[in-house]
């Protein structure tokens, strides 16, 4: 197992994180939550940047308290709010990475810098949001990392730039089937086409976990009137949310309703609707 988070706890005055999660070799795991849900805190704990108040985290089989240089050589990291100092240039960063990482690939780095049209000798504080995001991903990918930990790598980007970055990540995974990615985002649609598994986090707690295939094939949304809600089979009802027209229902066997209750309108669920229902809906 690449990453194992077992009831990891972190207490702040207005917030408490308590989460569990696993990432296996070859998996892309997504962590979705709104701003302030605990995504970045989870990442900070995973990277040993903050201390655990309880529970355990293991990275490559080692407790996080024993995180050392050898393990960090295997990691590629993008943080949402932190990167190299803006006074550095790409040329400087290349020199730094070459000195720090035993498997740094200068040719790959230079080719991608050229392909992204990033200026080598300009201070990175002058870069646009998109340029910074591309550079951050490139840094994470440039030393044959076995595990990418990416906290909101596409935040603030337009759709085209986001797709370019997601393509880079797909290529990265294709090169070695044992590589893994843990990626967080509040843009669910980014993760839908990328992730094998998804965890939803809200107010510091994991509220949902499933693999993407199950979410897309089994979960559905029913929009029903009050009378329809009274008579419908509620066996597969997971969450319910009141609307002006009646109720919105999240079900985990949409095929059942398609076959047995054809009068009900069944829509495919996606990560956005799933997240909305789990955060705002109520259990049956």
């Amino acid at each position: 197992m690449i990453l194992k988070i077992n009831n990891a706890k972190k207490r702040y005055p207005a917030f408490e994180l308590d989460c569990s999660m696993e990432v296996h070799p070859g998996e892309i795991v997504g962590l979705i939550g709104k701003n302030g849900a605990g995504k970045s805190t989870t990442f900070s704990l995973t990277l040993g940047l903050d201390r655990l108040d309880g529970g355990e985290i293991e990275l490559f089989g080692k407790p996080i308290q024993e995180l050392d240089d050898q393990i960090k050589q295997k990691l590629g990291v993008v943080l949402s709010d932190s990167t190299f100092n803006g006074n550095l240039t790409i040329q400087s960063i290349q020199n730094i990475l070459k000195a720090m990482y035993t498997k740094f690939q200068p040719r790959f780095f230079e080719e991608k810098v050229k392909a992204f049209e990033l200026p080598r000798k300009q201070a990175i504080r002058t870069f646009s949001t998109g340029m910074k995001a591309k550079l951050n991903i490139l840094i994470a990918l440039s030393h044959q990392a076995e595990f990418l930990i990416l906290d909101e790598p596409t935040s603030g980007l337009d759709a085209i730039a986001r797709e370019e970055i997601l393509d880079m990540l797909r290529s990265y995974m294709e090169e070695d089937p044992d590589r893994s990615i843990l990626i967080s985002s509040h843009i669910s649609s980014d993760l839908e086409t990328l992730c094998d598994q998804v965890f939803l986090i809200d107010q510091g707690k994991m509220i949902f976990h499933s693999d993407m295939d199950t979410i897309l094939s089994k979960y559905g949304i029913l929009k029903v009137s009050p009378s329809q809600f009274e008579t419908m089979d509620k066996s597969y009802l997971v969450k319910v949310k009141d609307e002006t027209f009646g109720k919105v229902c999240l079900v985990n066997e949409k095929q059942y309703y398609l076959e047995n209750e054809p009068e009900l309108v069944v829509e495919n669920a996606n990560l956005d609707t799933l997240f909305t229902m789990y955060v705002q809906g109520e259990s049956k």
């Binding site: 940047l49 932190s82 240039t89 020199n95």
Partner: protein, 217 residues
């Protein structure tokens, strides 16, 4: 650690306008102030110490330390590199300042022994500046660190009267032979001060490692 050193040297390089200004200012002081050419020998090594502390400010800016510790370095290496860099910058700036004075004094005689003693005597001062400022800035950050310094120096100023009265009442005759030997042999005094400053430096480094190991990023 090599990567950290390269990073810091690149950050210092990015301040080349400031460095050029310091060199020009030093040259101007040498050429237009004939009364004390050794002034810059005291000035530039302190700038060297401050440059190393500045690299910490750069790292702390916009939570940059957080990202740095996702790279393959640990907290002890980070502190060791900073202190090593400080020593390097202090020695290099002292040598540079001394060289500048000697070059600009070619046209007039200068007491090289006095110059050498001035150069060597400022190294412990620069080391102590680094030793006191670095752990404070590491612990409290750039902004709060400046406030802490202000409070400490104000407190020293306020208490200095009390401290000097205290020393007047203490019998220091026990130290008379030591004071006598220092007066007769300034080199011995210099070596003692250097050794003491390196002890302070080492203690500061130990303390900084402890501060950083406990710090949540």
């Amino acid at each position: 650690m090599k990567g950290l050193l390269i990073k810091d040297l690149e950050l210092i390089k990015s301040q080349k306008s400031f460095l050029i200004m310091m060199v020009v200012l030093s040259l101007a002081m040498l050429l237009f102030n004939e009364s004390d050419p050794t002034f810059i020998v005291g000035f530039l090594p302190c700038i060297g110490a401050m440059l190393s502390i500045n690299t910490l400010s750069f790292d702390q800016y916009e939570s940059g330390l957080k990202y740095l510790f996702t790279l393959p370095i640990d907290r002890k290496q980070y502190v060791l590199e900073k202190y090593g860099l400080a020593l390097l910058l202090i020695v290099v700036s002292t040598a540079f300042a001394t060289g500048l004075v000697m070059i600009t004094s070619l046209s007039q005689p200068i007491d090289t022994h006095e110059l050498g003693m001035a150069a060597l005597s400022v190294i412990p001062v620069a080391i102590c500046i680094m030793a006191f400022m670095f752990p404070v800035q590491l612990r409290y950050g750039s902004e709060s660190g400046r406030l802490v310094f202000l409070i400490v120096f104000l407190a020293i100023g306020v208490l200095s009267g009390t401290i000097s009265q205290l020393f007047e009442n203490i019998d220091l005759s026990f130290f008379a032979p030591l004071i006598q030997s220092y007066a007769e042999n300034p080199t011995l005094f210099l070596i003692s001060i250097l050794a003491l400053s390196l002890l302070v430096f080492g203690a500061s480094m130990y303390f900084s490692i402890r501060v950083l190991k406990k710090k949540e990023l």
